[in-house]
């Protein structure tokens, strides 16, 4: 009874696999979010100043570095344990370049521990830039940005060793942290270092909360550099992200309310046709015999939009390829996908 299948409108045989049934909605939704972000970046670029709420953990940064300077002990930073460079690492490094800028001004030693060579490359680059921008290029010690190990627990051992030997006064753990989060946090805590931490892994946040002074929860981490630098691009994108969240929230709110009314309320509405794998089939009643059954959430439009279930067995007639490879490898048009 709720049909929003685009397939018939498009050519029968050539709808992209991902667009079949309600698949198009996912693509649309993603593109919409992208649009929100880009639009707001453009908007902010036009010099429209946008509001950002206060993020407590970040005000602590200056304090932490300041304290390290008083004690003349180094500031230690870890941009997480991502397998390679990705947005999370870059984001962490953005914050760290802010930190090391302050450190550089106070000519306070820094230590940046990298989990793999790619991260090391980016970090070297970015931190040196910071020192050069501050006109302190000669003060930059390449060894202050180090590759420790690309093996999770070797890394953990190495970093905690460093923390204990260098007696770091302030530590920043921002990015992808897994099991080792607590090793770092407790070690640093045991020597009384000020800690600002955040993990993009929800499962690690509680441990940081238990052991660190300031914790950025969830995507406060992503908001951080926008908050610190107020760069239009970042602020704009942050607003766009909020729009996206609002979109998701309203989708769910509206979905729930509509759904509840379609299902009842206070009495069960029945249907006699349900959509199975993109096709409408008569329903089974409680007695497993064909017959009407109560409406479920799965029958509502929004639910079907969010979970496409394209028809399984589709055949498309295509010409055989004259110079097709031998049958044994015909199964492997694209090699093994290691």
């Amino acid at each position: 009874m709720f049909d929003i299948n685009l397939a018939p409108m498009l050519a029968q045989y050539y709808v992209g696999d991902q667009y079949r049934d309600t698949g198009w909605f996912g693509v649309l939704f993603t593109l919409m979010i992208a649009l929100f972000v880009l639009f707001n970046i453009a908007r902010a670029g036009k010099g429209k100043d946008l509001y950002i709420r206060r993020i407590p953990g970040l005000n602590a940064i200056d304090e932490a570095v300041g304290r390290a300077t008083e004690m003349g002990r180094p500031v230690l930073m870890v941009p997480g344990l991502s397998d390679s460079v990705n947005a999370i690492v870059v984001q962490a490094l953005n914050i760290f370049s802010y930190v090391s800028r302050i450190a550089a001004r106070f000519s306070n030693p820094i230590l940046l521990c990298c989990y793999n060579a790619a991260i090391y490359t980016v970090a070297q680059e970015m931190i040196r830039d910071v020192y050069q921008q501050e006109g302190l290029g000669d003060r930059f010690d390449p060894d202050s940005v180090r590759f420790i190990s690309d093996r999770q627990f070797a890394f953990a051992a190495g970093v905690s060793g460093l923390i204990l030997r260098e007696q770091t006064a302030a530590t920043f753990f921002l990015g992808d942290f897994y099991a080792e989060s607590l090793i770092f946090a407790e070690t640093a805590n045991s020597i009384g270092a000020i800690q600002v931490a955040s993990s993009t892994q929800p499962t690690q946040t509680p441990f940081f909360i238990a052991a660190c002074d300031y914790v950025l929860i969830g995507d406060e981490f992503y908001a951080a550099s926008a908050y610190l630098t107020r760069a239009p691009v970042l602020v704009g994108s942050l607003v766009g992200q909020d729009w996206a969240k609002l979109l998701m929230m309203s989708t769910i709110a509206v979905g729930s309310i509509l759904g509840s009314f379609l299902m009842g309320p206070f009495s069960q509405k029945m249907i006699s046709e349900e959509k199975v794998a993109g096709e409408y089939k008569p329903t089974k009643g409680f007695d497993e015999q064909p017959g009407p059954r109560p409406v479920k959430m799965e029958d509502t439009i929004i639910h079907q939009l969010l979970t496409p279930a394209p028809k399984g067995d589709v055949k498309v007639k295509r010409e055989p390829d004259p110079d097709a490879p031998a049958p044994t490898d015909a199964a492997a048009p694209a090699g093994g996908g290691e």
């Binding site: 045989y13 709808v15 992209g16 696999d17 693509v27 993603t30 593109l31 979010i33 972000v37 880009l38 970046i41 947005a87 999370i88 870059v90 490094l93 953005n94 990298c114 793999n116 060579a117 090391y120 060894d143 940005v145 180090r146 690309d150 627990f153 070797a154 953990a156 099991a179 080792e180 607590l182 946090a185 993009t200 509680p206 441990f207 238990a210 052991a211 929860i217 969830g218 981490f221 992503y222 760069a231 691009v233 994108s237 992200q241 969240k245 998701m248 055949k315 498309v316 295509r318 055989p320 390829d321 490879p325 031998a326 490898d329 492997a332 048009p333 694209a334 090699g335 996908g337 290691e338």
Partner: protein
């Protein structure tokens, strides 16, 4: 151009491939490499204002693949050895075929960078060793163990190169001393250290909980309370006692069923799908997890997901200051 060119199908010889071990192949490889190096020099000579666009270009192109793969209609029910229906689907064919190839790129590239990391390690520790600074001995240990692992690792790998021997070496009985050595260094030492470090967390969790779980603020109390409920529910014995307690409260008793099987009060309660069933520790935990924990994690996850997507866009289009040329 055809993205399929990199794919490993046994396609007939073309400009893009050449028979295994042929001189043709090696000439092509060498030429390609030389061209690549020449390209580097060209870039080095490039004017300053070119830099940002160049980097942005490479970033954009590589991101473009997955975006296209996502939005470009994927061929429906694509069978091997068939021709595309039309131009649009032809592109779809390329994209699908190229996926496993492109998927390798970031691995290979980050692989090539490893040398930088090792260089950093050796520089820090090498200096300490040669200047005989404090802890030089440990730097020596580090460098020696690098060498040890490299030698043993590669040697062992080499012995396994030949498929015949490698299948023979599946069974430890046929191991030569080098295989044993590798096993000793890798399983006996490296992996043991992994496990040791990993299990170290248990100690920290204890001290952290002891220090942090105080009924100070409302937030701390909430944290503590939920944690305790979950922990209790994980203790099967406690759960069991609690369950039977609740069951008897709701008037269920241990019974023997018609077929002679024993049924505990708790099981009876579950079987009866009674209201009391909501008060077993597992149910309470389940309720908390599915009613409060699931949505709160989801909330965090969504924020992070959108953040990643947005950041991804900024990097892909080089809107971020850091990803592109001028800093």
């Amino acid at each position: 151009m055809n993205l399929d060119l990199l794919a490993q199908a046994a396609t007939p010889p073309s400009f893009w491939n050449a028979p295994h071990g042929s001189t043709e192949l090696w000439t092509k490889i060498i030429i390609a490499f030389v061209v690549g190096i020449a390209f580097i020099f060209a870039l080095m000579a490039a004017p300053h204002k070119m830099r940002r666009p160049v980097v942005a270009f490479f970033t954009f192109i590589s991101g473009l693949y997955y975006v296209l793969y996502y939005v470009w209609p994927v061929p429906v029910a694509k069978e091997p050895g068939t021709l595309p229906l039309n131009a649009a689907e032809n592109v779809g064919f390329w994209l699908t075929d190229a996926l496993p190839v492109v998927a390798k790129f970031s691995n290979v590239l980050s692989g090539f960078l490893l040398g930088l990391g090792i260089f950093s390690l050796l520089r820090v520790h090498g200096r300490r060793l040669f200047k005989m600074q404090k802890d030089w001995f440990f730097s020596l240990v580090l460098i020696l163990s690098i060498l040890l692992m490299v030698v043993v690792g590669y040697w062992d790998w080499y012995t396994r190169l030949d498929p015949k021997t490698s299948s023979k070496l599946q069974d430890p009985a046929n191991w030569t001393s080098i295989n044993v050595a590798r096993d000793f260094v890798f399983d006996g030492m490296l992996q043991q250290m992994d496990a040791a470090m990993f299990s170290l967390i248990a100690f920290y969790i204890l001290s952290a909980a002891y220090r942090a779980f105080r009924v100070r603020s409302i937030e701390a109390t909430i944290l503590l309370a939920t944690a305790l409920i979950v922990i209790l529910s994980l203790m099967g014995a406690v759960e069991y006692l609690w369950g039977s307690g609740v069951a008897s409260m709701f008037g269920f008793h241990d019974t023997v069923l018609a077929d002679g099987t024993k049924q505990t009060a708790a099981e009876a309660m579950t079987a009866a799908n009674s209201f009391g069933g909501n008060f077993t520790l597992t149910s309470i935990r389940g309720w908390i997890q599915s009613t409060v924990q699931t949505p709160s994690i989801r909330a965090i996850d969504w924020g992070i997901g959108i953040g990643a997507l947005a950041m991804g866009l900024r990097l892909w289009l080089s809107l971020e200051r850091t990803s592109g040329g001028n800093s």
